[in-house]
Structures are given as C-alpha cells and as structure tokens.
C-alpha cells in the first residue's frame, strides 16, 4: 500500500533536495572554502589534505600555477608571482605606486587607470588574478561534493568600498559562479561564533588579516545579527608588519637596491620572523645574497613591536570610533572575538585587551571562522534551511556622497546606515534649456572630494529643456545587501526617466568585463551563449514557480482581468522557455514582470501587514 505524503500547507510535497553551496574566504594571504554537510559546517581540503590555499598566482610560459605551487616559486620568479592581489582590488595604478611598498611587478595602466600586471601570460588585472584563486577552490568543492555548485557566498572586508566589492563579484562572474551574497568578514565570523556559543548581547569582532583590518560591533538577539557599526582600514594588515620589518632589515644590512628576488626572499623571511616572534622573544634573521654571502641579524620582539606600534594603535582608534558610532560603552561589550591570522601577534592581543579592559576571546580558529560563517549563510540562502531564523543586518562602511560646487562633498548616505538603503536627492538645472547634468559619486568621510574615493561619474541626459531651476531631477542612490551602489534618476514634472551611464572610476568597464568573459570562456567547457541560455531558463523556471505559488495563495489580491493577462503571459513564457532562444525568454520574462509588478508589490505589502498582525498599535 502506498503511503500518502502529507505536507504542511504552503510547503512543497517534493522531498527536500540538498542544494550545493559553499562559503569562500578570499583572503589576502590565504583562501578557504567551506560548506555545510549534515548540519555541520567545515572547511574542505584538497587531495593532499591541505585546507588553506595560499592566495598566490604565478604566470609561466606554460600556464598558470596557484597556491602552494606558486608560492614555492615566489622568490625565484617574483615578477610573475603575484602575492596579496587583494590589496590591488578596486585600486588605481597611481594609488598603488604612491604606496610605500616596493613592488617587483611590471605594470601597465588600463583605460580607467587600473593596474595591469605584465606577466608571461600577458597582461592580467586584479579581478582576473582573483578569479584564478577562486577557480581551484570551486573545483575542489565540486569534486568533494560531487556536483555543480548552485551558488557561493564570498567574504569581503567590511571596510571594502564599492569598487573593491564590485571587483570581487566580477571575479566570481568570470568563472560563471552565482554569487548569493558578498558577506562582510567580521559578520561571517560573528555568525560562526554566535551560533556556536549561543551568545546574546553586544559583541565586538576584531579582524586583522593579511592585508585588511575590520572592527565590527554587533548585537546578537534571537537569531538576528545586527551590525551596529563597523570601521577599519582596507590597507592595514599583517602584510604591513612584514614590510616594516623588511624595510628595517634592508636598512640594517644597507641593501639599497636589492634585486627583485632578494627583496622577495627578505619579505618571506620577514614573515617567518614575525610568526616566530609570536612564540619566541628573539629570532635571528638570515639572508643569502646572490654572491653566496650570508647576512644575519637578531630581531627581538621589543624591536618588532616598536616597528608596528603605530599601526596597532591605529586599529585601536578605529575600535574607539566604532564603539562611539554604535552608541555602545566599553563595559556593554560582552565579548571581543579575535579573527584573522595577525591577531596571533602578542602586541595586538595586549592592546585589544587593554582597550576593552578584558581578555579577548582567542579560542576560535582565527583562520577558518570566516569561511565557516560564509558556509552557514550560503546554506541558508540557497534554500537548504527554510525554517532558519537567521537574519543578518549589515551596514554601509563608508559614507556616500556627491560632489558639489567647489569640490565639496554632500553626504547622501552616512556610514553605518543599515543596508539595503535608498536615498533620493533632488537637483535642478543651472542654465536655461539645460538637457544634461554631470554627477560625481564619492565614498569617504572627508569634506573635500579630493580626500574621498571617487566611485563613479555619470551624466544625466535627456532632461526636457526648461528654464533654469524649473526641472526637478530626483536622483536615487540605492545600496543593496551586498553593499553595491546603483543610481537611477527621473525628471519629476515630466516623469521622464533619464538615462544614466555610470562609469566606474576604479572598476572595469562593461567592455572590459565582456572581453574578459570571452577570454575565460574560450578555455571553459561551456560556451558563453549556452551559459546565458541556461541562466535565462533557470530564471524563467523560477519566475513561473514563484508566480504559480503566489497565485494559488494570494489570488484575492488581483482582479479577474489581471489574472487572465498574467495567465496568458505565463503560458507564453513557459512555451519559449522550452526553446533555445535566449532573447525571446528574456523578453517574455520582462513582459510577465511588467504585468505582475503590481501583484508582487501587493504581496510584499501583505507580508509586511502579516508580520505585525495581532500586534495592537500600542503594545503586544
């Protein structure tokens, strides 16, 4: 006798299928991939049982090496072995060259002034190099889990600006991987720690990695992880400690113009000393020069601390500012969790302990906790835990503003505003008959445009000619849950939607992205057209599935006439989705989208009402 399956109302009768999704910690020094299996999140190892992948890419005549293999050639072939590429993401070539670090690479500038590394495999940009690091991690996951991934969550420093976030997302896009969410690293760590400990209340995550520093203050309450404030420095990390020691030893040994190989060797040695000094109070640095001569120098922990003291102090200043922004007093912080390899440095721990007046929590693995947190969120976002009550409320790390007269910044969205956020600003024309208007969007806290980061410039065109001051242009800045900005504009009196072309100041142009996509596809198993068709088919199925469910549940929200129109468009979409014309599917989705817009809004309003149903106006 067949057993009847009885499902809860509103739930599918189809047995729940586990979808494959991973979290990736794309780090400055090391990268990791993790996933949730049988309810437990773990990092995944490669076939040699190694979990962490050095974020190092080497371009040779024969191909591309990544990870430990590339690392072993780091000193031998520094020009073609790119380390710490994360520090170049979303940065211009002039930003990089004005930095204090000596870099062994040969650079060219792209059209937008982005750095291009000249390697044995030609010119590559930071997005492409990052994609090379992601690639083996994704392959590792697919091999271990035995199937294609439905999506990934990639972590980024909380303090990453728009260009740095966009670059990270573009890197995954090059591999054809669906990014479910860009997740801030300290927030990821908070998820892993919070769920594990069951802690409720205010916690601080101090995250000092290889190249970036973040401090986030969160309130944990019944599954809600609410970031109250975040701060940091996207160019401060253990790397800088290495460079300071490197610089010091070059001076001591009077090596004014070391070769690229010697310089890289010394950098590797500096890192070894830093790591050794977490255990010992004195370590001998040694270096073999090209002529075979040996250099040696004793480095004490006290000396190392005098070198890095200023940077460590800077992180404490960020902690103080973030607490103030969060409106939290030091004694309200229940726990300070230390994340990132550089928190192993004793001086860092000491200063954090002194500032917060309590011992920081160092029992969690500072290297893997971010990937674990990302895996937990990926598992939920992909739909494996529909009953989960986890909710992440994150913030914008840096204020968004626009340039006004005299090179001043007018803030549109302030830092530590919870995202997603949308803010509208009104502008008017300056001259009679003016039909275009130029905008410059910047990110940062300073008052002068030159002191902030330029995000994008765009020109608003097609403003109807009117007298000066008569046109009212409403520009809406929207930041999504990934922390990415988009801009739309409308002339209010005529309701004319103006076209905006956003030209990212330090991002890739659409042309560059499509060229890179073609390049990456040339070697891939699928070609680009097939991938785009598949994507549209998946979206079509999703649209139809969502709508069918919505119609059976909320049919009362639409009129009979509307229902007929929707049913007809749905049938048309179902028909073209079975064929292989990508454009036709896209068009049918758009048509259906247009006639269901109202219905979808009403449903959302309904769920807002339902959320507070039964709650009287004054109290519960």
């Amino acid at each position: 006798m067949a057993l009847l399956q009885i499902a809860e109302p509103g739930q599918s009768t189809v047995p729940h299928q586990h979808r494959l999704a991973v979290g990736i910690d794309l780090g400055t020094t090391n990268s990791l991939v993790a996933t949730v299996r049988s309810g437990v999140a773990n990092t995944l190892a490669d076939d040699q049982s190694r979990h962490s992948l050095p974020s190092i890419v080497r371009y040779t005549d024969d191909g591309i090496q990544v990870g430990a293999e590339a690392e072993s050639y780091s000193a031998q072939d520094p020009q073609n072995t790119i380390i710490s590429v994360k520090r170049f993401m979303g940065r211009s070539l002039s930003d990089i060259q004005s930095g204090s670090q000596d870099l062994p690479y040969r650079f060219e500038a792209s059209e937008n002034g982005l750095p291009l590394f000249v390697t044995k495999q030609g010119q590559v940009n930071p997005v492409q190099i990052s994609a090379e690091i992601l690639k083996p991690l994704i392959l590792r996951a697919e091999k271990t889990l035995g199937g294609d991934l439905e999506g990934v969550v990639i972590t980024v420093p909380a303090y990453f600006d728009d260009a740095q976030r966009q670059g990270t997302k573009d890197a995954a896009g090059l591999l054809g991987v669906k990014v479910l969410r860009l997740l801030n690293e300290p927030t990821a760590a908070a998820i892993a720690y919070g769920l594990d400990s069951g802690q409720e209340g205010v916690i601080a995550i101090y995250d000092l990695g290889g190249g970036t520093f973040d401090i986030s203050i969160l309130r944990l309450n019944k599954g809600v992880f609410e970031v109250l404030a975040t701060g940091g420095d996207s160019a401060l990390g253990g790397d800088d400690f290495d460079h300071l020691l490197h610089h010091y030893l070059l001076n001591e040994w009077q090596l004014a113009t070391p070769s690229a190989t010697i310089s890289r060797q010394l950098l590797i040695e500096a890192r070894r000393i830093k790591e050794q000094l977490t255990q010992d109070t004195e370590v001998t640095a040694s270096l073999t020069l090209e002529d075979g001569s040996q250099l040696q120098h004793k480095v004490t922990r006290a000396l190392f601390e005098s070198l890095i003291g200023k940077l460590v102090k800077k992180t404490i200043s960020s902690c103080r500012r973030s607490l103030r922004d969060a409106g939290i007093k030091i004694d309200e912080v229940l726990e300070i969790a230390m994340v990132g390899g550089s928190t192993r440095v004793p001086m860092v721990r000491q200063h954090v302990a002194d500032f917060f007046a309590r011992a920081p929590l160092t029992s969690i693995d500072p290297d893997s906790v971010v990937a674990i947190g990302a895996a937990i969120q990926a598992d939920i976002l992909v739909g494996n835990k529909p009953e989960s009550d986890l909710l992440l409320l994150d913030v914008l790390p840096l204020s968004l503003g626009i340039e006004t007269m005299g090179g001043l910044v007018e803030k549109v969205v302030s830092r530590n505003t919870t995202i997603p956020v949308a803010k509208a600003q009104e502008f008017t024309t300056f001259k009679d008959g003016q039909t275009a208007m130029a905008f410059h969007v910047v990110q940062g806290e300073r008052e002068l445009v030159d002191d902030c980061r330029s995000l994008a410039r765009f020109t608003l065109k097609g403003i109807p000619p009117m007298a000066a001051g008569a046109a009212h242009i409403r520009v809406t800045f929207q930041v999504d849950a990934d922390g990415l900005l988009s801009v739309t504009a409308m002339e209010k009196s005529t309701q004319v939607k103006s076209s905006i072309q956003v030209k990212p100041s330090f991002g890739l142009t659409d042309m560059e992205i499509s060229a890179m996509l073609k390049d990456s596809m040339a070697n891939a198993k699928q070609d680009i057209t097939r991938r785009m068709l598949a994507e549209q088919q998946v979206e079509a199925a999703r649209v139809l599935e969502t709508l069918t469910a919505a119609l059976s549940k909320d049919a009362d929200l639409i009129s009979a006439d509307e229902g007929v129109v929707i049913e007809k468009s749905m049938a048309e979409l179902a028909q073209v989705a079975a064929l292989d014309d990508t454009d036709a599917i896209e068009k049918a989705i758009k048509t259906l989208d247009a006639c269901t817009q109202d219905f979808a809004s009403k449903r959302m309003d309904n769920s807002i009402r339902l959320a507070l149903t039964g709650k009287s106006v004054d109290s519960i």
Partner: protein, 174 residues
C-alpha cells in the same frame, strides 16, 4: 509614508524604543532580501526596495530629532528644505560660545577632558529642549506646532555641533 503606521505604533515623540526594535526585526524577517535569495528577480528587486523603506523608517523613528521632524511632516510642516533660522539671541550666543570652545580643543592641555565636558553639556542642553518638545508635539494647535518647529531647529544646531565635536575627536585619535 507614515512610519508610525508601518511599525504599528502610536505617533508620539515618546516611543518605546525596545518595542520599535522588536517590530523592526519582525518586519525585516518578512522583507529582507536574504529571504528572497531563491525568488525571481522581480521579488528580489521589490524586497530590496521594501527593506530600504523599513530601514529608513527605523532610523527615522529611532533618532529623536528625525522622529520629531517626521511627526511635524505628518502634520504638514516640512522642515527639510526650509530656510527659516532661529531668532533666539540667547541660544545663538550659546552656540557661538560652544563653537569657540570647539576651536580651543586643539590648543587645550587636556583635549580629552574638554571633549568629554562638551559632550556632557551638549547632552544636558539637548535633553532640556527634548522635554519641552515632547509636550508641544502632543498638541494639535498651530502655535504649539510652530513652537515645536522652532525647538527642532535648535536641535538641528545641536546635532551639527555634535558632528563637529565627533570630527574633532576623530582627529585626536589619528
């Protein structure tokens, strides 16, 4: 948009902030984009828009100054783009004094103490204004609301001072 309605709260200057936070989380659970990760692009788009609205509502109601402004806006008095200024001479004198104190911080022997002192005086003064404001905002009479608008303008001056002080404090850290 009436944010009190969105959060199912009685429009009032004195609100239960714990209840506000609770409602905020409930609304977020209904609309946050993470809850629509597997939905159509349309649903995702609307989720982002609604969440942005809920976030804006929460930050408007959470902060006393923007909450007061919102109550006046609901009564038809929009203070956002106005050019009216405060005419209270005594208040303006006090503002000037504080501005001078802000400039003196840089030359002070103990800037931290001075910053802490100023935060405290700003706080006391703002609280005084807030107490008067709470009463006026309960009224529906035109003159009371006009008086409330005047107090809100004063609170805006205080908010600017506060921002300026924070900026100076930040400079102390660096």
């Amino acid at each position: 948009m009436n944010y009190f309605e969105l959060f199912s709260l009685t429009p009032s200057y004195d609100i239960d902030t714990a209840l506000l936070a609770e409602r905020y989380h409930e609304l977020q659970r209904a609309v946050h984009p993470d809850k629509f990760a597997n939905s159509s692009e349309q649903d995702k788009r609307i989720a982002v828009q609604r969440t942005a609205q809920v976030n804006d509502g929460f930050s408007t109601l959470k902060d006393p100054l923007s909450r007061a402004e919102h109550i006046l806006a609901l009564a038809g008095i929009d203070l956002r783009h106005e050019s009216t200024t405060v005419k209270d001479t005594q208040f303006l004198m006090q503002q000037m004094e504080w501005r001078e104190s802000l400039e003196d911080i840089a030359h002070s022997e103990d800037p931290d103490a001075m910053i802490a002192e100023l935060y405290a005086s700003f706080n006391v003064y703002s609280n005084c204004i807030s107490q008067d404001l709470a009463g006026l905002l309960l009224s529906h009479s035109e003159s009371d609301l006009a008086a409330a608008a005047d107090l809100i303008r004063k609170l805006k001056f205080m908010a600017k001072l506060q921002v300026e002080l924070e900026r100076i404090e930040d400079a102390q850290f660096d």
